[in-house]
């Protein structure tokens, strides 16, 4: 075998190996989604029909209709979208601002602040859950507000306040990402701005921020997605409002109750109940993640490219 042949052979083996691995991994990731999608079009009876595996014999949109009604989908979608946007914009603003401060100004406390930011990441949010809840339930800023403590639970304020101060869910990570990003940018940019008479703030807003777009995208997407999927903070601070994850959790039982009340024969045995839950939950799941998938489809190219350039790596 000549050298060229040998090289070609190893290349070919490499390609085959790569294709096999990627196909396998993609299958593992996509298969559950596909099963969900397939199940969401089935009728309850078809779940225990052995001959129906993927494609429903009588595809139906009934599950989606049920979910639309009992999740109060338009309202839940609106609420989730609003909250996720509010949270991610606040967090994006504060973490970028703080990250820049940690990247560019060296003083005695800057190293300490960075390690504190990372420390907030390592403490599980469940641990400070109850004090944090009480903090917002009887909000008086350590007694600085002399009046009756405010009840901020049930409003957007807990989200806005923690978001604007870089202390929301995994904000330590966002601060770290932005810090690494700003550290990778050339210092000459700022020095030129200072010489031209910009202060700290105008340098940041007019010179640094416009070049930080890739980092901003990564942080925004993470923040938006995590808020969208969040169950923990919304049940803690806004348990009465209808958000998509909560709506999804209760939709099957709500629908079943109504059906049981109107039609005595429809849901009788436990088996039927379980299968009913399955088809409804699958349809609801698809409805919850579709908006995320759409956003991801539009942003993914940008996302992957920009995370490569964020210098997440340092």
């Amino acid at each position: 075998m000549t050298r060229l042949q040998k090289k070609r052979l190893t290349n070919m083996i490499g390609t085959i190996f790569r294709v096999a691995v990627l196909l396998g991994v993609s299958y593992v990731i996509i298969q559950p989604m596909m099963t969900r999608l397939a199940t969401s079009f089935m009728q309850v009876e078809e779940l225990y029909d052995q001959s129906v595996k993927w494609i429903a014999r009588n595809p139906t949109l009934n599950n989606y209709r049920t979910c639309w009604v009992y999740m109060n989908y338009p309202q839940a979608l609106f609420n989730s979208l609003t909250l996720a946007l509010v949270v991610s914009v606040c967090q994006l603003a504060s973490c970028t601002y703080i990250g820049y401060g940690l990247a560019r100004f060296q003083w005695r406390g800057s190293g300490l602040l960075l390690s504190l930011a990372i420390f907030t990441l390592v403490v599980p949010p469940q641990m400070i859950r109850i004090p944090l809840y009480l903090n917002f339930r009887y909000f008086d800023l350590f007694g600085i507000l002399k009046s009756q403590p405010l009840n901020l639970v049930g409003t957007y304020w807990p989200f806005i306040l923690t978001g604007l101060t870089g202390s929301g869910f995994r904000n330590g990570l966002f601060i770290y990402i932005m810090r690494q990003f700003f550290r990778g940018m050339p210092r000459e940019l700022e020095e030129a701005a200072y010489v031209d008479g910009c202060g700290f703030l105008s340098t940041f807003f007019r010179v640094m921020l416009p070049s930080a777009v890739p980092g901003l995208i990564v942080v925004f997407l993470f923040s938006f997605v995590w808020q969208w999927n969040d169950y923990f903070y919304t049940t803690m601070f806004m348990s009465t409002k209808n958000f998509l994850p909560q709506a999804l959790e209760t939709v099957a039982s709500k629908a079943a109750q109504v059906i049981r009340a109107t039609d005595m024969v429809a849901v009788t045995s436990g088996m039927v109940q379980d299968n009913f839950n399955t088809v409804i939950n699958n349809a609801g799941m698809i409805m919850v993640i579709t908006p995320l998938l759409i956003i991801y489809l539009f942003m993914q190219r940008y996302f992957v490219e920009s995370i490569e350039r964020t210098g997440l790596v340092g």
Binding site: I98, I128, L161, Y194
Partner: protein
Amino acid sequence: MARRRIFKVGYRQRQFLGGLLFTFPFIIGFSLFFLYPFIESVIFSLNELQLDRSGYTLIWKGLGNFRYALLQHATFNERFVENITDTLSTLPMIIGFSLFAASILNQKFRGRSVARMILFLPVILGAGVVLRMETSDWAYIMAQETANANYFAGNALRQILGMIRLPDAVVDYLIEVITGSPEIIRDSGVQILIFLAGLQSIPPSVYEAADVEGATGWEKFWLITFPGLSPLIITNLVYTVIDSFTTPQNQLISLIEQVSFTGAGFGVAMAMSMMYFGFIGLLLAVIVVVVGRFVFYNV
């Protein structure tokens, strides 16, 4: 005017002023929404908390809550050990897989963007809703099917692996790797991203030099890629552990939540999470120190 003032103060003061200007939101947020609740939760863990209409009252219990969690609670110890061993055994799998996947995704081939899009899907779908539903309802249909498949696959594997006379512990671990692979793949989205970012930062000229010297792919991986990525291994280790706090599959966390709302009360739940957090923190510190010795900085 403002400009002149900025230039009059010294470099040190300027750094200090700027630093304060940009980090004050974090200082406020950290003390109000992290440090204060954190200290309170330490206090709660030493007390019994009783909620009433006007607020709450504390009854001092000292280390009673800790003693209760360790000695009297029925399942805490067991779950604790289970959780720690689980975390420890999946860590190397996730790190290994994400390193492997990142180095594949970093090669140039047709369909790379599609492959990347699919492999990063778990970043979007891996958390929250999807997993929550999986633990409740999906388990129901799939449980039997996969359990059977895994059982048979596991048995066949066990026989094959037994033939090469590997120690039992190794065989068990390998089987765990293979049957648990869907979860591993699902949990490695962000880690792949981080490694991929790292791979991009290794200058191509280093590889070119290695090519000129006639290095094989294997040598290039172990002598260039792996050392180049080693700082990120720590980042990924820490991230993986953090990530495990918020998955609904974390049995210990759900036990703690259950205790805090329906069981022995807030104080005990706080004591439990203090112990959990303390142990994990210690573990992370040890891992960072040990792995840090082998890390190669400055590629």
